[in-house]
C-alpha cells in the first residue's frame, strides 16, 4: 500500500509541471491586457502603464516570467491577485469551502438517488422502470448545465417562488464563518431559520450540479450490477437460502460498488468544471465564480493559481479514490 502511494505521488511531479505550463499560458493567450482592464474607463497614461507593467513584471520575456512564477510556487507563493490585491492562496481558501459544500451536496444527491435507481433498473431489467430511468439518465447526461439551471430557476424560483435565486443564505442572517460550510455555520450560530435558509439556497444548485453525476452513477451502477448478478457467487448466495434483499444489497452490491466508486472519484474534475458554471448561474460565491470573475479581468495570478490549485485538488481526490479502491477491493488490498 505504501509503495503504491509513493508511485502515485511520483506521478504528481511531472503532472504538476505540465499543469503550471498550461495554467501560465492559458490566460495570456486570451486577448485583453490586465493593466488596461484594471485602470477601467478612465484609461491610463503611457508612463503609468509602463510603471504598472513593470511592477507586475509583465515587461519581462514570457520564459523569464514563467520560471519566476514556478520558483515562487515551489516556495508556496501563488502570487498576489491584481484585482483584490490579496494573496491568491488566501482568496482561494476563503472561497473554497463554498465550492466544497456545494460539490458534496451534489455528489450526495447523485449517490443517494443514482445507486438505488441503478440497482432497481438492473434487478428489473427491461421493465418500465428500467427503460424510464435509463431514458431520463441519458437525458440528464446530455443536459446543458446552463440551460438546465435557468429552467429550474424560472420554474421554482421566479414562477413558484419556492426557492431563492442566488447566494448561500438569506440576507437577514449574519454570523461569523467558522468552518466555511454555510449549513454547519448556520447550525453553530444557533439563529432560528438560518439552517433551513442555507439548505433552501443549496437545493437548486445541488440539483443542477448533481444531475450529470447522477446520470453517470445510475448508468454505471446498473451495468455493474447486471454484470455481477450473473456471477457464480450470486447463485451460491441464493443457493444458501439468503433473502433477495441480502443477495442483491450485500453480495451483488458490494462487488458492483467497486467500479462505481472509481467512477465517482474520476468525476471530480468534471464536477469542479460543472461547479464553475453552476456557481455562475446561482451567484454562488465559490472558486468557480471567482475564477470566472478573475478571467474576465485578466487577473493572471488569480487565474493561474486557481487552475493549479483546482488541478491539485483533483489529483489529491484521485489518489484518495485509488486508496479507497484498494480498500474496497480485497483482491488488490492483499496483493503486496
Amino acid at each position: 500500500m505504501f509503495r503504491f502511494l509513493l508511485s502515485r505521488l511520483a506521478l504528481i511531479v511531472p503532472t504538476f509541471f505540465g499543469i503550471t505550463v498550461i495554467a501560465f499560458l492559458f490566460p495570456r493567450l486570451l486577448k485583453g491586457d490586465p493593466v488596461l482592464l484594471l485602470s477601467g474607463e478612465r484609461g491610463v497614461s503611457p508612463e503609468r502603464y509602463a510603471m504598472l507593467n513593470e511592477q507586475f513584471g509583465f515587461d519581462r520575456p514570457l520564459i523569464v516570467q514563467y520560471f519566476d512564477y514556478v520558483w515562487h510556487l515551489l516556495g508556496g507563493d501563488f502570487g498576489t491577485s491584481i484585482a483584490t490585491k490579496s494573496p491568491v492562496l488566501h482568496d482561494f481558501f476563503a472561497l473554497f469551502p463554498a465550492t466544497v459544500e456545494l460539490s458534496l451536496f451534489a455528489v450526495t444527491f447523485a449517490v443517494i438517488i443514482g445507486i438505488p435507481a441503478g440497482i432497481i433498473a438492473a434487478v428489473k431489467r427491461g421493465s418500465l422502470f428500467d427503460q424510464g430511468a435509463m431514458g431520463i439518465a441519458l437525458a440528464g447526461y446530455s443536459m446543458p448545465i446552463f440551460w438546465w439551471g435557468l429552467l429550474l430557476i424560472v420554474i421554482f424560483s421566479t414562477t413558484l417562488g419556492w426557492t431563492p435565486i442566488d447566494g448561500r443564505i438569506g440576507l437577514r442572517y449574519f454570523f461569523d464563518s467558522v468552518t466555511g460550510f454555510m449549513t454547519i455555520d448556520a447550525l453553530i450560530s444557533g439563529q432560528r431559520g438560518a439552517f433551513s435558509s442555507a439548505v433552501s439556497h443549496l437545493i437548486l444548485p445541488t440539483i443542477v450540479l448533481g444531475t450529470i453525476p447522477l446520470a453517470v452513477i445510475a448508468r454505471q451502477t446498473r451495468s455493474a450490477m447486471l454484470e455481477v448478478l450473473s456471477e457464480d457467487y450470486i447463485r451460491t448466495a441464493r443457493a444458501k437460502g439468503l433473502p433477495p434483499r441480502r443477495v442483491i444489497g450485500v453480495h451483488a452490491l458490494r462487488n458492483a460498488l467497486i467500479p462505481v466508486v472509481t467512477t465517482i472519484g474520476l468525476q471530480t474534475g468534471l464536477l469542479l468544471a460543472g461547479a464553475i458554471l453552476t456557481e455562475h448561474i446561482f451567484s454562488w460565491p465559490g472558486i468557480g465564480k471567482w475564477m470566472l470573475d478573475s478571467l474576465s479581468q485578466r487577473d493572471y495570478p488569480a487565474v493561474q493559481g486557481g487552475l493549479i490549485l483546482i488541478a491539485l485538488v483533483v489529483m489529491v481526490v484521485n489518489i484518495i479514490v485509488d486508496v479507497l479502491y484498494g480498500l474496497i477491493n480485497p483482491a488488490i488490498r492483499y496483493r503486496s
Binding site: T236, A239, G241
Partner: protein
C-alpha cells in the same frame, strides 16, 4: 422412505430463437443415505434439473413437474420464502467452479457464518466456534487464521473445501454436488471426492453427484441415472449398470473409459449416441 421425489420434471427456456426444452420429463428419486449419480454429456440438462429443484433458475425458465416432494413436503406448492428456509439448510449444493462460487469481497469465514446466522440464528461467538469446527471437518489447516482469508488467497481445492463446509454447516439431509471436482487438479480431485464420501457416510446424507466421469460413478454411487439431451436413457443400480448396460449410449460412456479401450483409437461417446456416430 424417499428423501426427494421428482416426477416428470420438464424445463423450458424462453430464448430468442423460440422455446428450448432443456429437460423433457425426467423423474428422480433419492432415498435417505443414498448416493445417486447423474451422468451425461455437456448440455444434457443435469445442472438445469438440480437448479430447478432448488428453485434457482432464471425467470426465463418454465418449470413443470407432477411432483417435487422433499421429506414429504411439496416443494412446488411452496412460496419462495418457504423454499428459502429449506435450501441452504436441508438441501445444500456445491458447484463446479469453487473459486468463482465464492464472493471475492468477503472472507470465507463470513460466507460460512452467513448460513449459520440465517438458518440457525447462531450468535457471533457461537458462529465463530462452529466455523472453525467446520473448516477442521473439511481438513483446512490453521482454520482460525484461514477463516479470515479471502477466496483469492486460497487454491481451487481449498475453495471447494470451503464450499463443502458451507454446504454441510446446517447438517443437510441432501447434498447436491454438481461436478464438484471437474475444475480441480487430478490429485486434488481424489481428495475432495474422498472428503465428500466420508462426510456423506458420517452425516448420513442423501447425495446427488453429477459427473461426466464413469470412474467417479463407480467409486461413489449406489444408483445411476444416465441422461442425454434432457431425457433419461437408463437408470440402474451401479453394479448392474457397469455389468450390463442396457442403452447403447451407456455402453458408449463405459467404452470411452481408457481402461476399456480396444483397437487403435479410443471410442468416443458420439459413436454410440442415438443419432449414430458422427460423420468422419
Amino acid at each position: 422412505m424417499a428423501l426427494l421425489e421428482v416426477d416428470n420434471l420438464t424445463v423450458t427456456f424462453r430464448t430468442a430463437s423460440g422455446p428450448f426444452v432443456a429437460l423433457d420429463g425426467i423423474s428422480y428419486r433419492v432415498d435417505q443415505r443414498e448416493v445417486l449419480a447423474i451422468v451425461g454429456e455437456s448440455g444434457s440438462g443435469k445442472s438445469v434439473a438440480m437448479l430447478a429443484i432448488m428453485g434457482l433458475l432464471p425467470p426465463s425458465a418454465t418449470v413443470k413437474a407432477d411432483r417435487i416432494v422433499f421429506e414429504g413436503r411439496d416443494m412446488l406448492a411452496m412460496t419462495p420464502r418457504q423454499r428459502r428456509q429449506i435450501i441452504g439448510k436441508d438441501i445444500a449444493m456445491i458447484f463446479q467452479e469453487p473459486m468463482a462460487s465464492l464472493n471475492p469481497c468477503f472472507t470465507v469465514g463470513y460466507q460460512i457464518g452467513e448460513v449459520l446466522k440465517y438458518h440457525l440464528g447462531m450468535r457471533r461467538g457461537a458462529r465463530r466456534k462452529r466455523i472453525v469446527e467446520l473448516l477442521e471437518e473439511v481438513r483446512i489447516a490453521d482454520p482460525i487464521h484461514r477463516m479470515k482469508s479471502f477466496p483469492h488467497q486460497m487454491s481451487g481445492g481449498q475453495c471447494q473445501r470451503v464450499m463443502i463446509a458451507m454446504a454441510i454447516s446446517c447438517r443437510p439431509k441432501l447434498l447436491i454436488a454438481d461436478e464438484p471436482t471437474t475444475a480441480l487438479d487430478v490429485t486434488i480431485q481424489k481428495q475432495i471426492l474422498e472428503l465428500l464420501m466420508q462426510l456423506q457416510a458420517e452425516e448420513g446424507m442423501g447425495m446427488i453427484i453429477i459427473t461426466h466421469d464413469m470412474g467417479v460413478v463407480a467409486e461413489t454411487a449406489d444408483r445411476v441415472i444416465v441422461q442425454y439431451k434432457g431425457r433419461r436413457m437408463e437408470e440402474a443400480n451401479v453394479l448392474d449398470l457397469f455389468a450390463n448396460p442396457k442403452s447403447p449410449y451407456t455402453k458408449g460412456l463405459l467404452a470411452a473409459l481408457p481402461e476399456n479401450a480396444t483397437g487403435d483409437r479410443l471410442p468416443v461417446v458420439a459413436d454410440f449416441t442415438p443419432d449414430g456416430p458422427a460423420a468422419p
